[in-house]
C-alpha cells in the first residue's frame, strides 16, 4: 500500500513540528509555505521556553502543558535552548501578595520552584532591580526561534518530508461532495500555478487559519492578537526575569545572544499581513523593562518588532486561554479531509503536532503511535543541507 499523503499549510512552529510527527508515522508529507521557514508569527516569538510559571495561577491547563513540553524539548532539541532557568521577582506589596497563590499553583502543576533571598537573587543577577523583595527560581529557558523550527523541519526532511517554500496556497480544492481533496498553489519564485492532492490537508497557518478555511466558506474561532517586543544591546541577565504577578504587559525580560528582549503587549488588528510597531507600546516596554532591570532605561535599542498570537475562542486579550485546539472540520462543518491546528505556544509545538497527528491518524484509520517525545532532533542545519521541492 502506498503511503498516505498529507499536505501541511504553513511552516511555522506548528507546521514544522506536525511535518516531523507525520513523517515519523509513515506519511508522505508536503509542507507549503509562502515565505521561508518562520515567515509568520513563529520567527518573531519572544523566545521564552515557558516553565508554566506564568500561567500557573490563571490557566493550569496551559501551565501543565508548558512544564511537560519544556522538559521534553530540553531533551530532544538542546541545540537551540539556553537552559538557564528563570527568576520571578517581587518588587512591591501586590507582588508579595501574589506569591502565596503562585507557590501553591506551581506545586499543583508540578513546576519546580525555589524561593531565594533578595541578596542571593542579586548575586546571581546583579542587574535586576535592587529593591527586589523576594525571588523564585523556576525552570524557564530561552530558545532561538528560527533554529527551533529548522530543527523540526530539517529532521522531517531527513525522514522524507518535502518542503515547498515561497509557495502560496490560494484555495482549498473540494470534490463537490463536501470533502477537501487538495490545494491550489502559486509558486512565487516562478509565477506558476499548480494543484496538489492529498488524503488530508492540515491547516497550520496560525493567525491566518481563518483566511484558509474562508476559501471554502467556513470559519474557525481564531483571534489574532499582536504584541510588541523591544531588544536592547546588552546582555544584562543570564536568566529570564519575570515580574511576580498576574501576567501583564512588559513583564518578561530575557537574554538572547548579546541582548535582552522585553515583551510584550496585547492588542487587536484588522490587517494581519503587516502590523505596525506602535511607538507607545515601545515606550511601555522600556518603562516596564526598567522596573525589572533599571539599566534598560538607558540602554541602546537594537530592534523593535511585533508578532501576532493566534489565540483561540472568545474573550479579551490576556484572558483568552493560551492552550491550543485541533479542529476536525468533518465534525465542525461536515467537511472531510481538513484539519486546522491553531492557538498554543512555541513551547507546546510538539504537543500540538502530536494531537494533530493523532486526529489525522484516527480519521484515516491508521494505527501509528507518536514517538516524537523520545526522538532527538537532528542538527537544525539539516534543513538547508537538503534541497527544497520545486514544480517541475
Amino acid at each position: 500500500m502506498s503511503k498516505p499523503h498529507a499536505i501541511i499549510i504553513g511552516a511555522g512552529f506548528t507546521g514544522t513540528a506536525t511535518a516531523h510527527d507525520l513523517a515519523l508515522r509513515g506519511f508522505d508529507v508536503t509542507v507549503i509555505e509562502r515565505g521561508d521557514i518562520c515567515h509568520g508569527t513563529s520567527g518573531r516569538t519572544h523566545g521564552l521556553l515557558h516553565s508554566g510559571g506564568r500561567y500557573a495561577v490563571k490557566d493550569q491547563e496551559s501551565a501543565i502543558e508548558c512544564i511537560t513540553e519544556n522538559t521534553i524539548l530540553r531533551r530532544i532539541v538542546p541545540q537551540v535552548i539556553e537552559p538557564n532557568g528563570g527568576l520571578f521577582i517581587a518588587l512591591d506589596e501586590s507582588d508579595l501578595a501574589y506569591a502565596e497563590q503562585f507557590i501553591e499553583s506551581c506545586e499543583e502543576c508540578h513546576i519546580p520552584l525555589e524561593e531565594i533571598k533578595p541578596q542571593e537573587a542579586l548575586r546571581r543577577e546583579p542587574h535586576i532591580n535592587p529593591r527586589v523583595l523576594t525571588a523564585f527560581m523556576i525552570p524557564d529557558g530561552t530558545f532561538d526561534p528560527l533554529r527551533l523550527a529548522l530543527a523540526f523541519a530539517g529532521t522531517a526532511k531527513r525522514n522524507g518530508a518535502k518542503f515547498r517554500t515561497y509557495t502560496e496556497v490560494k484555495k482549498l480544492i473540494t470534490d463537490g461532495k463536501g470533502n477537501i481533496t487538495g490545494v491550489n498553489l502559486l509558486d512565487l519564485k516562478s509565477g506558476k500555478s499548480a494543484e496538489l492532492y492529498a488524503d488530508i490537508v492540515v491547516n497550520a497557518t496560525g493567525a491566518w487559519a481563518g483566511e484558509i478555511v474562508e476559501t471554502v466558506g467556513v470559519n474557525v474561532p481564531v483571534k489574532p492578537t499582536p504584541g510588541v517586543m523591544v531588544a536592547f544591546e546588552q546582555r544584562f541577565v543570564q536568566r529570564t526575569v519575570n515580574r511576580l504577578n498576574k501576567p501583564g504587559d512588559g513583564d518578561i525580560v530575557l537574554p538572547q545572544r548579546r541582548m535582552v528582549v522585553v515583551g510584550t503587549t496585547s492588542f487587536e488588528v484588522d490587517s494581519l499581513d503587516y502590523v505596525p510597531v506602535l511607538e507607545d507600546h515601545v515606550k511601555l516596554m522600556i518603562e516596564r523593562g526598567a522596573q525589572l532591570i533599571p539599566a534598560i532605561a538607558g540602554a541602546k535599542i537594537r530592534g523593535k518588532y511585533m508578532a501576532t498570537r493566534p489565540l483561540i475562542g472568545g474573550g479579551e486579550g490576556r484572558s483568552v486561554a493560551r492552550t491550543f485546539k485541533c479542529y476536525d472540520h468533518k465534525e465542525m462543518h461536515n467537511l472531510d479531509g481538513l484539519v486546522t491546528i491553531t492557538g498554543g505556544k512555541a513551547t507546546t509545538l510538539r504537543a500540538m503536532a502530536e494531537k494533530t497527528a493523532d486526529v489525522v491518524c484516527t480519521k484515516l484509520g491508521i494505527n501509528a503511535p507518536c514517538v516524537t517525545a523520545e526522538t532527538p532532533l537532528l542538527s537544525y542545519r539539516q534543513y538547508y543541507l537538503q534541497p527544497n521541492e520545486d514544480f517541475s
Binding site: E125, P145, L146, R257
Partner: protein
C-alpha cells in the same frame, strides 16, 4: 510624538525563475526610524504579494534577513532607514552576493550551512567557553550549567562582503573559518587539513570587510588571523615531533 514621514523609492532586485534579473521601484512613505525590513515587508503586504525575501526574528538573533542595502551588506531588521538614505531619495535593496539567488531577495544558504556544519560551528555555547563582553560580577561554581548561544547568527553578510569569496565558490569564507577558530584546533585537530588549504585560511588576503559588516560582534577577521597562528603553531609542533 512621531517624526515626520519620509517619501522614498524602494528599488528592489527582482528575479523570477527563468527570467532576467531587473530592478523594480516602489515609491512609499516611511517613518525614518523604522527598519529597512519593515519597508520590504510592507511591499509584500500591500504592493506585491509575489516578493520573495527571507526574514524571521526581526531583532538580529536569527540571521535570515541579510541583504545588500545601497551596496552595503546589512542585517535589514536592525538597520533604521534613517541610517541608509534620506527623504526623497532611493533605497536600493539586493540579495547577498556569493550565494545562489532563489528569487528576488532570497538566497540559498545550503552550501554555507553545510560548511558551518562541517567545521562544527556551535550554536549553543556553555558560558564558561564563550567570551562575554559584560559578564556578571561573579560566576559561581555551578555556572557551568549556564549555556548561551554563540554569537555568529549565520547571516552570511561576511561572505557577501568578502572580496576573496567573490574569486572562488570553493573558498570556505569568513564565518566558516571563524566557526573553526571558535572550535579551536586543540579541540578538533581534524579541522587542520580543511582550513590549512588554498580554499581555507590562505585565500583570505586580510581585507577585513567581514568584520566591517558583521552585525553580531563576531570579528571574523581577527579569528582568521588567530586560526593562522594556531595552524603555524601546529606545523611547528609537527616539525619537532619528527625523529
Amino acid at each position: 510624538m512621531s517624526p515626520a514621514k519620509w517619501n522614498i523609492i524602494l528599488k528592489i532586485h527582482r528575479q523570477k525563475q527563468g527570467e532576467a534579473p531587473h530592478f523594480e521601484e516602489f515609491p512609499m512613505q516611511v517613518d525614518p526610524d523604522e527598519y529597512v525590513l519593515d519597508a520590504v515587508e510592507r511591499v509584500w503586504a500591500f504592493m506585491d504579494r509575489s516578493l520573495c525575501f527571507r526574514h524571521a526574528c526581526h531583532h538580529s538573533t536569527c540571521g535570515a534577513c541579510g541583504m545588500r542595502v545601497n551596496d552595503v551588506e546589512k542585517l535589514t531588521c536592525i538597520t533604521p532607514i534613517r541610517e541608509v538614505t534620506r527623504d526623497g531619495a532611493t533605497l536600493k535593496v539586493e540579495p547577498l552576493r556569493n550565494f545562489p539567488v532563489v528569487s528576488d531577495l532570497a538566497v540559498d544558504m545550503g552550501t554555507f550551512y553545510s560548511r558551518m556544519e562541517t567545521v562544527g560551528a556551535r550554536a549553543v555555547l556553555p558560558v564558561s567557553e564563550a567570551e562575554i563582553e559584560n559578564p556578571p560580577t561573579t560566576w559561581d561554581a555551578d555556572e557551568s550549567q549556564y549555556i548561551r548561544l554563540a554569537d555568529c547568527i549565520e547571516c552570511g553578510l561576511c561572505i557577501s562582503a568578502c572580496p576573496a569569496a567573490a574569486t572562488s565558490t570553493e573558498y570556505l569564507g569568513p564565518a566558516v573559518l571563524a566557526g573553526a577558530q571558535d572550535q579551536g584546533l586543540k579541540r578538533n585537530l581534524k579541522l587542520l587539513e580543511l582550513v590549512d588549504s588554498e580554499d581555507g585560511l590562505w585565500r583570505c588576503h586580510s581585507a577585513f570587510e567581514c568584520t566591517a559588516v558583521c552585525p553580531s560582534f563576531v570579528d571574523p577577521a581577527r579569528r582568521i588571523m588567530d586560526l593562522r597562528m594556531q595552524v603555524i603553531e601546529e606545523r611547528f609542533k609537527r616539525l619537532f615531533r619528527k625523529p
